[in-house]
Symmetry: C2
Subunit: 501 residues, 2 copies
Amino acid sequence: MSITSYSQLENLFNRIYQLQHLASIAHWDMAAMMPSGGSQARGEALAEVSVMMNELISDARTGDLLQSARQDKLQLSDWQQANLREMHRLWLNATSISSELVKAKALAGSQCEHAWRTLRGDNNWQDFQPLLQSVIDLTIEESQQRADASSLAPYDALLNLYEPGQNSVALDVIFAQLVEFLPVFIQQVVDRQAGDTIIQPVGPFPVEAQRELGLTLMKKVGFNFKQGRLDVSHHPFCGGVAEDVRITTRYSEDNFSESLMGVLHETGHAKYEQGLPVDWLNQPVGSARGMGIHESQSLFQEMQIARSQPFLQFAAPIIQQFLDNEQTDSQCWSADNLYQLNNRVKPDFIRVNADEVTYPLHVILRYDIEKLLINEKLAVNDLPEIWDEKMQQYLGISTAGNYKDGCMQDIHWTDGSLGYFPTYTLGAMNAAQLYHAATHVIPDLKQQIAQGEFAALNQWQKEKVWSQGSFYTIDELMIYATGETLNPHYFLEHLKNRFKP
Amino acid sequence: MSITSYSQLENLFNRIYQLQHLASIAHWDMAAMMPSGGSQARGEALAEVSVMMNELISDARTGDLLQSARQDKLQLSDWQQANLREMHRLWLNATSISSELVKAKALAGSQCEHAWRTLRGDNNWQDFQPLLQSVIDLTIEESQQRADASSLAPYDALLNLYEPGQNSVALDVIFAQLVEFLPVFIQQVVDRQAGDTIIQPVGPFPVEAQRELGLTLMKKVGFNFKQGRLDVSHHPFCGGVAEDVRITTRYSEDNFSESLMGVLHETGHAKYEQGLPVDWLNQPVGSARGMGIHESQSLFQEMQIARSQPFLQFAAPIIQQFLDNEQTDSQCWSADNLYQLNNRVKPDFIRVNADEVTYPLHVILRYDIEKLLINEKLAVNDLPEIWDEKMQQYLGISTAGNYKDGCMQDIHWTDGSLGYFPTYTLGAMNAAQLYHAATHVIPDLKQQIAQGEFAALNQWQKEKVWSQGSFYTIDELMIYATGETLNPHYFLEHLKNRFKP
């Protein structure tokens, strides 16, 4: 009886997975291949399939099947039980808020995002503010409906969409340690780095050479090109499906480092997808374990590996081989110089351009404000002031009157994706903790990396993270992989080691 | 009441259209972009969405809605009535055969096609024959079930899947005229051409130059690059969606002409798609009017235009500009020489490589045999003998013992797509008739083509064919565009003019 219900649920989620496959490829195509005239039709096709997926999961029958399957779940295997838990979570996410609210938020979000694309460039806060207020009002309503359905606190109910099991009480404690440590540390690093002599590479670096370099290093670190591609899009991302992962980048002929590190970052996401449990890919338990773990894999590749001294020792001659030119002093291509180039610290306005040390403070600033918006009903009108206040407190710079480089810089709030920002820094902390655990299992890891050997490390990540899909909860996964739940200590130690002030 | 039923049908077919959009892009991606490791997952996703589309159209509720809407169809506009007619046709196609037969044929077809990919190369008729017999048996069963549901003759019921309204009694009469004329004509042309002096272009012609040439001529003849792309795939095709048409080609460095004419052929298909009625694209009435009309548009572009003397006069300097090299005698690039190069006639084994004059006989041979298989239950075992007999009769060459260049050469029968072949020659005849009609409306058409001016011609085709979608039946459309139903006279006249023996 319950096996039957469970089997029916597997069929249902398989169907959703197959639709998601087509939607993902269409999304990638839209960003990487589609001519401009195709956008309206594509938008309509993607909207319709999104409605269909939501109908499938929200159907009353799905709720009945879940109830029946959960009653007799002890007849299921461990993987099936974990799958059922994930099905239930997705069902709850899909059914916790009213369809009226879904529609209203989608509409307000789309209007706000659309306007933002112009208003940001114009630094036009006045026209943006009421649009954002509408989105925030609906997001508050959403947080309350989700809280009612889940017995989580309102802000935590949003956070759990991206980071299941996480809560703001725990996050407050963790982030407080970062806030205590980072501002002073940043000043020390900036002072120390002021004395460094860095040789700047001089472009132009041809796009084709940059592309070949990216492909070469992707291959070296273990991207499987039988199940994925590298292309160009305006905003780099990792998309496609686990069986065929599509990553993108964009090239600037002046600056090769941004694209190269971006490619390796997305390669980290891609290797996670490519390493997910093959037998479970079409089921919820087969998908990646939340955004914080996903970001941990990209930051593992980028921050723990690619920007490290040993990796740059290995990569320096390869980078030189592809990019050397007459304009650039050949000393530029030493591992030491590339290491310094790739690890400069400077407090600045824009989160997406931030270095590894200042980045968490950009995130915590947003997290602080999101909690105020949701829990304290902070008026959007007061956002610029509090943004400026916190920028001064955390990074010592002011955004007064500079909305476009202040509270208007991100797309996330325009469609009401509150609760997402923390996952970036959760990812950074998870990555440091995972790397530390790997060094215990592979004592000569640094030497292996310096020699361009990644097989043992990939094997360890695959066993401990990738192949586990969503079998474990996030806390369980971190314990399985590192012996303990998230501990910011490893991230702080990593920063101290890398940026020794 | 009936408006409500009709509206519900529009919603239903819109949903199917949106799923079809995603499936089409995924098909294109599979052929043009996808890495090899992605094929199993892609196949599963496409199979699932195909099942979903079939479920939507075959749902009992759809039949009820159609019945109700048809009862009160006089309340509908002309376009809505035509749309309802097309909906009913699609519903009938989807529901006329049992789901057991659909499954059995899909399985047998996939096994036969898969085996064919190896067995053809090995000239292994013995192992192929029983697999094909199974597919033919199921196709006979299909033709009977479709005949029962439609009151068409069994073979016509298959033919109507691709060419609605067509029947083999009419086709027999038309094809008889071609069979009477062509064999003698071919011999005369071959004899006459034997005396021609042709200068052969000498490669290699770099792929990038061929691509740029193709893009240039696509643009000149009116392909809209805001709503489409040109890429590479193993088998050239026209795919994507009307709002975003994806055509493909493949390049050989030795032979530029094959790819160039292929690109212009697919451009003909693409311009039809791009010119379909924008207000009706998401409905059955907004789609192209059957395969024979679709092929008429590609052959219009390729045979009526691109291989003509005036077009090559216009294109010759452009071709030379992109492809000239030291190896090739510059006389090669004259319009006269290019014309001769692109209009050589030679009876040969392979349909897809056939010239314009021998091609119809390849088709009629297959049409004859298809009727024998379906109507006379001709045993597959007897296929090679009758193939050889007809090749000798029509083209004067023998395929005895040469299965791979004989009855094993095509993919169409391996999955039971009987009834499709005639559409190629229907397309050729329609194209000649349409071109003839265009010369009456645009008296200086030849001069316009020679000057690379295609605006008036495209406008005429758009008005008469493209923008009509499936509003008219095929016969009505030909009358609307040319004043009469299909008449093979124009095709025969075209051949006489072009190939004057």
